[in-house]
Structure formats: C-alpha cells, structure tokens
Symmetry: C2
Subunit: 238 residues, 2 copies
C-alpha cells in the first residue's frame, strides 16, 4: 500500500515535468518557425518576439533541471524511472540549444534587413526550418508515446536537412564568387543554414534518446555526416 502511494506520487511529479517539457518543446517549435518567417518577411518585430521567447525557454529548462533533481533526491527512483528522468534532462538540454539557434537566426534578421536580399535563399531556409520543426514535433510525440519506430524515422529524416544545407552551401559559394558585394550577407545566411542543420542534429539527439529509452540500445551511427558535401565542394568535386 505504502509502495503504491510512493509510486503514484512519483508518477504525478514526473507528469508535471513532462508537461513542462512539452510546453518547452512547443515554444521551441514556434521559435524555429517564427525565426525563419521573420527572416523571409524581413519582419524585425517578429524577430524580436523570438528573442524574448528564448528567455521563457531558458527559464523552463532551469525549472525542469530543478524539478528533476528534486525528484531524484526525494524519491530515489529505481533504474527504469531514473532512466526516464535522465532522458528528460537531456531532452531539455537539447531543446535549450535549439532555442538558442532560433534566437541567433532571429538576431541575424535585424542585420540582414539592412542588406540587399539574396535571391531565393530565404524560402529555401524557411523550408529547411519547417522540416526541422516537423522533426522536432515527431521526436517529442515519439517520446510521449514511447514510439521507437517514429524516433528512428526522425533520425533518418535528418539526412534531408543535411542535403538542404549542402545545396545552400553550394549556392552561397556561387553567389559570393559571382558578386563579392554579396559576401557579408552570404556569410550570415550560411551561418543560419549551418545553425538550422545543427538544430536538426539536436532533434536527432532527442530521437536517439527516445530509442535508447524504449529499446535500451542507442541506434547505430551510420548516417552520412552533414557537411560531407561541403568537403566535396572544397575538394573541387562539384
């Protein structure tokens, strides 16, 4: 009876933390989309809202870290429960990093509105951001539903994001070589593309945690590395 009571208190505490993770995930998803939209529409006000959302995201991570530490200290969870808690902490840490990249993207909007737009790149960047946001949504769903298959699907989709990045990298190189006046803008756009690719890596890391949580094994790291093509570009292969 007493055991059951303790278990249910643990579950309730865990549910509170999971609700916080979902809230944090929702804010991060929104930030990714808004950052890309602010860039495409040259909307500085929208960019500013991403920067203030990042404060809320950071606060949620602090709260989740406090709550998980308290949960471990008070309830001394057994192996399985502990694994869930450690997964939650890692997911929160990955979400915080993705939020940082979105903030950084929004920050560059303020710079890029001062410059001549680079043809077509903004919509490509927005498609890339949209793909990452959808992957994040699925990775969080996979966590809640303990769905290793969905998590594996997210991991595989990261290759599409890597390919989008590689295509943009080539495009920016061409722009810069054709018109040196575009170099500064292209450097910023290239950073945004690279940071979006890194968001994808963090989403993949969340999905890997889910696979580990459900199956007890980390998925094999056999996907091609994200910036291989940019190495090929450098070697003159394209």
């Amino acid at each position: 009876m007493s055991d059951k009571h303790i278990a249910s208190v643990f579950d309730r505490d865990l549910e509170t933390i999971q609700a916080q993770i979902m809230k944090m995930g929702g804010l991060v998803e929104e930030s990714i989309l808004k950052a890309a939209q602010s860039l495409e529409e040259r909307d500085e006000e929208l960019a500013e809202s991403v920067r203030s959302a990042d404060i809320a995201i950071d606060e949620l991570e602090d709260l989740i870290n406090e709550n998980t530490a308290r949960l471990i200290a008070l309830r001394a969870p057994a192996a399985v429960d502990l694994r869930v808690i450690l997964t939650v902490m890692k997911i929160a840490s990955n979400l915080e990093r993705i939020g940082d990249y979105a903030k950084n993207m929004a920050k560059r909007t303020g710079v890029l509105v001062q410059m001549t737009p680079i043809n077509g790149s903004y919509s490509a960047l927005r498609r890339m951001a949209r793909e990452v946001q959808l992957m994040l949504k699925d990775a969080l769903d996979a966590y809640i539903q303990r769905d290793a298959e969905l998590a594996m699907d997210v991991i595989h989709r990261d290759q599409d994001v890597d390919q989008m990045y590689n295509a943009l990298f080539r495009e920016f190189l061409t722009f810069m070589m054709e018109d040196p006046r575009s170099i500064t803008a292209c450097m910023h756009l290239h950073f945004i593309a690279k940071n979006t690719e890194r968001m994808g890596d963090h989403v993949t890391s969340i999905a890997e945690q889910v696979v580990y949580l459900v199956t007890g094994k980390m998925p094999e790291d056999n996907r091609p590395k994200g910036d291989q093509t940019s190495v090929d570009v450098a070697l003159g292969k394209v």
Copy 2:
C-alpha cells in the same frame, strides 16, 4: 558506523568517476592543441590522430553517464552529493561537445591542405585554440579544487576568445572581398574560428557549473555576446 560505511563507498565511486572526467578532460585538451597544430603544419597524420581520439572521448562520456546513473540508483545520494553528480554529467557533456569541435577542425585540415594557405590565419587560429585549452585546464582545476574564483576568471577570459574570433571574422571578410579565389578556404577557416569560439562557450559553461556547485548560484550573464562585432561588421560599423 553503517552510515559512515555508505558515505565512504559513495566517495570512492565518485572519485572513480572524477578520475574519468579528468582523463576525458586531458584527452580533449590534447585534441584542441593537436587539431590546431595539424592545421598550421598541414599535418594530415596528426589530424587523423585527433579523429581517433574522439572515439575514446565519446566512450569515456558513455562510461561516465553509466557510472553516474548507477551511483544515483545504488546510493540514492542526498542533495549535496546529487548536485556534484549532476555537475559531473554536465561537464562530461560539455567535454564531449568540445571534442566534437576539435574533430571537426581536424577534418577540415584534410580539406585545407589541398588549397593555397591563407596568410597568417593559421597561427592566429592556433593562439585562439591555445587560449581555449588553457581555459579548459583551469576550469577543470577549479572543479577539482572547488575554486569559484578561478572559475570566474575562466568565464571572464572567454571575452578574449570572442575578441580573437571577431578579429579573424573581419580578416576573412577582407580576404574574400580582395580575392574571390580565397572564398572556399576562408569559409572553412571561418568555421574553424567560429567552432573554436564555441569551444570557449562550452568551457565557460563548465566554469559556470563550478561556480554554481561552490556558491549555489549561477554567475550573472553580463558578458558581451561573442558575435556582436560580426553584427557590427555587417552593419558597416567597422
């Protein structure tokens, strides 16, 4: 008597994990230096050794994660001990990221040896890497000695690294504008500079954890942001 026994077992387990953290830190320090050296001396063999060291670094992180999880599950540590364990996990995670950046730098060495060297940049990159390695050494010493003052010193020194990055960013922009044939090489060098700056951010994050561990408070985030100058550059302020 029984309590004392439990405490000493906990301390012994923790010491084992701390020895693993120090080993991991040593490997990461070495990788930072070797990666920068391989770049400057165009030494592909040295670059390759950084890539294999990264495997050992990743394995150490896995080991530390397993050992900390086991320690929490077996010993159900009280608040203070738990804080130490969670700090150790965060330090391991930061070290793993720094190792990844060093590996990425080494990987680009293989690409850059195929291109005409960019005057002077390699030694500047090496000085930057050297500064980050010294900061990391001090951050880990601050952890072992529970020295919040040394940790704060590390946090402040990150500004120097940010300044070195900003100077290099300006230099690369100038090179690219003067000679479009240098664009590809400069893009890679710029990535290396940015990744080294990010290594500094991770070292700072370790130092902040130490401050939190010793004082119970996170240091105020009032340092200027790393890429402010590159924003200024873009706005034509330099």
